[in-house]
């Protein structure tokens, strides 16, 4: 038994995990249409590389990552691309975003898969590119592109690899059932990770002690591999990255840092399974295990769901009763968000669809005033003072909010869970956080604008000064000229003017060359005029035209005469 550390705060909501663990992971019929969002991860949404009407195979790439922090997207089944347009997606704001719609052909035909059987003899770089190509993003909830996470750079060597199998949210059993049924693949995935990271000496699977079967399933595969399965008492939110690091190592992740800064890396256990599939089996991430649970559905169990499956499809296959349901939640009851449309598709980060009955999760009661009872502070895993944050959040006192470390809030919802006054505390914090971020951005913008303005003012001032200096110089010169005009006679001025003109005159050689050029060009023009006149008379043009041309010829001849005369004058 390895030592574990106890985090402050935390809550113990009813677990409600048993109901979805009575059956093994199931599968659903392929839906007629799959809607695959292009942004399923943190970072830039992928860019579609197919067009409407294209036929795609299962596992074929349909969107390329846009930049470093992004992930590729693959077709979850074979079929035809029937739309690329904005659709409602899994987001707490209920927004629409660009999606690729695939109409399934029902064949579920894979691309040619090419896996690597001996990853130990493959360079980490090559493995990373496989993971990039497979479009793997963290499957625990945040969806950070895994290949980026696995490449912290040589300046940040990783000595501790933490596999997060905590699954501390009530109701969710996706990881639990995945471990129970596919422990071998998971451990292989962890070994691939370890190889990529240069075999960190400390590899731990962190798991809550409410999953004895999963722990047992891991045992035979982790034996003599150097991978430690570390279990600890269940408490929400032990699965938060920061909390798990503390529980397993006793170290705190300094505020504003990422785990790699202290030589650690946290990967969700579902992600390790996806990595194994990508590397060994050559299967990109096109499906995931998702828990379908809640009293408003008759059947509660885990499914291996294709990415892009509309929630409606999942609900219908489990006899969903909309009348009984208080809300449909993607994720758990603590941090999940309610869905505004049944057409929203399952994405890479969807670990649960929760359809609770009204008795299970009643409608929200109106908030009462905060009596600062402090239950929230007792529950906060980050040791914040939620009651004070609420106070300052309502007062929009950004300075106080920041001195109370608002940005260390992980939005776990433990404070709102215990609040006897039903205050939606987390919502206040989210809103304050975005207000502060916006204010900071505006501040940067206004600073830039001010700098620009000041620079412009400076520039205008400088130009004005220069002009003023010039004017002063001219005034000075005029004054001097006036002063000197009093003493000098008129003859002097004329002489000075003549001298200036003489200075401007060119030398005789230059003058000669110039006149010669004038003569030759005049000759050329006479020749041209003659030619034109000849062609015109040969083509028997009108008299008028011939008259004009002959006039032009005589003009040119006159000019030639003039030039010749001037040359002769100069030569003399």
């Amino acid at each position: 038994m390895r030592q574990t550390w106890v985090t402050p705060g935390g809550v113990h909501p009813p677990e409600n995990k048993d109901q979805s663990l009575t059956q093994p992971i199931g599968s659903l019929p392929i839906p007629e249409k799959l809607v695959v969002p292009l942004g399923q991860h943190i970072g830039a949404p992928a860019i579609a590389c197919v067009t409407v009407g294209d036929r795609v195979l299962k596992g074929q790439k349909i969107a390329d990552p846009a930049g470093t922090i992004s992930a590729a997207i693959h077709a979850p089944t074979s079929g035809t691309i029937t739309a690329i347009e904005a659709r409602p997606v899994a987001h707490s704001s209920g927004m629409n975003a660009l999606c690729v719609e695939i109409t399934s052909d029902g064949k579920d035909q894979w691309i040619d898969k090419s896996g690597i059987s001996d990853f130990e003899h493959t360079s980490p770089k090559a493995l990373l590119s496989i993971i990039t190509e497979a479009g793997i993003a963290g499957m625990g909830g945040a969806g950070f592109p895994t290949s980026v996470k696995l490449n912290p750079g040589f300046k940040r060597p990783i000595d501790t690899l933490i596999i997060n199998a905590t699954e501390c949210e009530p109701y969710i059993t996706a990881d639990d059932s995945l471990i129970r049924e596919r422990a071998e693949e998971i451990v292989e995935g962890i070994r691939i990770l370890s190889h990529i990271l240069g075999n960190p000496h400390n590899i731990m699977i962190g798991i809550e002690n409410n999953k004895p079967e999963a722990i047992k399933a891991l045992e035979p595969h982790t034996k003599d591999t150097g991978i430690n399965v570390v279990s600890f008492p269940a408490k929400y939110p032990s699965g938060g990255e920061k909390q798990l690091i503390y529980i397993l190592t006793g170290k705190e992740l300094p505020s504003g840092n990422i785990p790699a800064d202290i030589g650690m890396l946290c990967v969700n256990i579902g992600t390790t399974h996806a990595i194994k599939r990508a590397v060994v089996d050559g299967e990109p991430l096109v499906s995931r295990v998702t828990t379908m649970t809640g009293e408003a559905c008759e059947i509660n169990r885990n499914y291996d769901v294709l990415i892009g499956t509309p929630v409606e499809h999942l609900l219908n296959h489990n006899n969903f009763d909309a009348q009984r349901c208080s809300r449909v939640i993607m994720g758990g009851p603590m941090m999940g968000f309610s869905l505004t449309s049944k057409l929203i598709p399952i994405v890479k980060t969807t670990n649960c669809i929760l359809a609770p009955s009204v008795e299970e999760i009643p409608h929200n009661e109106p908030a009462q005033p905060c009596i600062r009872c402090g239950m929230c502070a007792e529950a906060c895993p980050a040791s914040l003072l939620p009651q004070q944050l609420l106070w300052y959040s309502q007062a929009k006192d950004h300075e106080r909010l920041q001195s109370h470390n608002l940005f260390d809030c992980i939005e776990c919802g433990a404070c709102s869970y215990v609040c006897p006054s039903n205050i939606p505390l987390v919502q206040h914090y989210r809103s304050s956080k975005s207000d502060i971020k916006k204010a900071q951005e505006e501040k940067v913008k206004s600073t830039q604008a001010r700098e620009r303005f000041e620079f412009r003012q400076q520039r205008i001032e400088l130009a004005e000064k220069e002009r003023e200096a010039k004017r002063a110089a001219r005034r000075e010169a005029a004054k001097q000229a006036k002063a000197s005009s009093g003493t000098d006679s008129m003859a002097d001025i004329v002489a000075a003017a003549q001298a200036r003109t003489a200075a401007k005159k060119t030398s005789p050689e230059q003058e000669l060359a110039k006149l010669e050029r004038a003569v030759s060009s005049a000759e050329m023009r006479v020749q041209k005029a003659q030619d034109k006149l000849d062609t015109a008379s040969a083509n028997s043009e009108t008299d008028e035209k011939i008259n004009i041309l002959s006039a032009a010829l005589s003009g040119a001849q006159q000019k030639l005469e003039k030039a010749k005369t001037r040359l002769a004058e100069h030569s003399n």
Binding site: R327, V328, G331, P333, I371, C373, L385, S403, H404, G413
Partner: protein
């Protein structure tokens, strides 16, 4: 209806403000029983009269403030204030003392500051101090404990008590007496041992003072119940009691005529236990963090001892709590807990660097 936008978390714990307030009311019952047993029906009448006054006046002022009356009455906070004030007032005091005190608590100290959650001072203690200063005679006349009544004399029965409260102008003789804290205040020149021998309040007591020790133990029991139900944390009450005990130990002076009394006497006299578990734990007007509540509690303990020993009033919980209420926002500024991932505790007044 199933597809709607609701913010997380969706799950909610079983606790709600009304339940917490009700629990506080229930937790006063051991203390109320002890008071009734030792001092007659007066306290119960106080509590009921204060509660009725509080609910009616709260309803009226909510109406005047255009607030939903039933929604706010349902939080039971007015009842808690009234019960605590009723317990603090002397048994069998005239009805208008109770009514004036309660009106002041609910209308001025609470609702005029914005209602529940916005009052900077403990409403019950504001009401108490107002009547204490305004009606000193009525407020310092305590019924003698049952055990010390002369042979053949009993506390008035319930109906007689009602009559006394509502119709009697002057407090009755024969059944009134000094409190232990009064005895110490007015026993100049006597050593502690002499006081204990002469005064039957102490000579017949088990720990500290006849009747009073049981009242305090009753409130201690209720307080422990609330502590176990996590209505509040131990920090405030323990800090206050430890500070009070330490102060009385430091100034014990081996029981000389200058001694203000033993630690046990102070802990189990007057409103010590009620103050520690029911008054200073009012979260609205106290400091918020653990360290803040330790400082806040200790400050009250020290002030209680100072006022009891060298002030004009025999007991001091109300004054000490109100004085500490003033300091709570200041204490809060300097007692933020250390947040995860930070090496230092921050100050609330910290300015952001640009």
């Amino acid at each position: 209806m199933a597809f709607k936008q609701v913010t997380s978390p969706h799950a909610h714990g079983a606790q709600n403000t009304a339940k917490v307030m009700q629990l506080v009311v229930w937790a006063t019952i051991p203390g109320l029983i002890a008071l009734t047993w030792h001092f007659g029906w007066g306290s119960l009448i106080n509590v009921v009269l204060a509660s009725i006054t509080a609910v009616v006046s709260e309803a009226l002022i909510l109406k005047m403030r255009n607030r939903p009356v039933w929604f706010y009455l349902g939080d039971y906070s007015a009842v808690v204030t009234a019960v605590l004030l009723g317990l603090a007032l002397p048994p069998l005091c005239p009805w208008w003392v109770v009514v004036v005190g309660t009106l002041f608590s609910v209308v001025i100290a609470k609702q005029l500051f914005g209602g529940l959650g916005y009052n900077p001072f403990n409403p019950a203690m504001v009401g108490y101090v107002v009547v204490l200063i305004s009606f000193p005679v009525e407020m310092t006349t305590w019924v003698a404990p049952l055990a010390l009544l002369p042979e053949g004399v009993a506390h008035p029965d319930f109906l007689e008590s009602l009559k006394l409260v509502f119709f009697s102008a002057s407090p009755m003789d024969g059944v009134t007496g000094a409190t232990p804290l009064d005895s110490f205040k007015h026993a100049a020149g006597l050593t502690v041992e002499q006081i204990y021998q002469q005064d039957s309040l102490f000579s017949q007591a088990m720990f500290a003072g006849v009747g009073w020790e049981w009242v305090n133990l009753g409130f201690l029991a209720g307080g422990i119940l609330l502590l176990c139900s996590r209505v509040f944390t131990w920090h405030g009450p323990v800090a206050m009691l430890v500070a009070l005990a330490l102060m009385s130990l430091i100034f014990w002076d081996s029981g000389s005529s200058q001694s203000p009394g033993s630690p046990l006497m102070h802990l189990l006299s007057g409103a010590s236990m009620m103050g520690a578990f029911f008054i200073l734990t009012d979260p609205v007007s106290s400091a918020v963090s653990h360290r803040g509540r330790l400082i806040y509690g200790a400050l009250i303990g020290i002030l209680v001892f100072i006022i009891r020993s060298w002030g004009n009033y025999p007991d001091a919980v109300a004054f000490a709590v109100l004085l500490a209420n003033f300091t709570a926002p200041f204490i809060d500024n300097y007692t933020l807990p250390r947040t995860y991932g930070h090496t230092d505790r921050r100050k609330a007044t910290e300015r952001l660097e640009d």
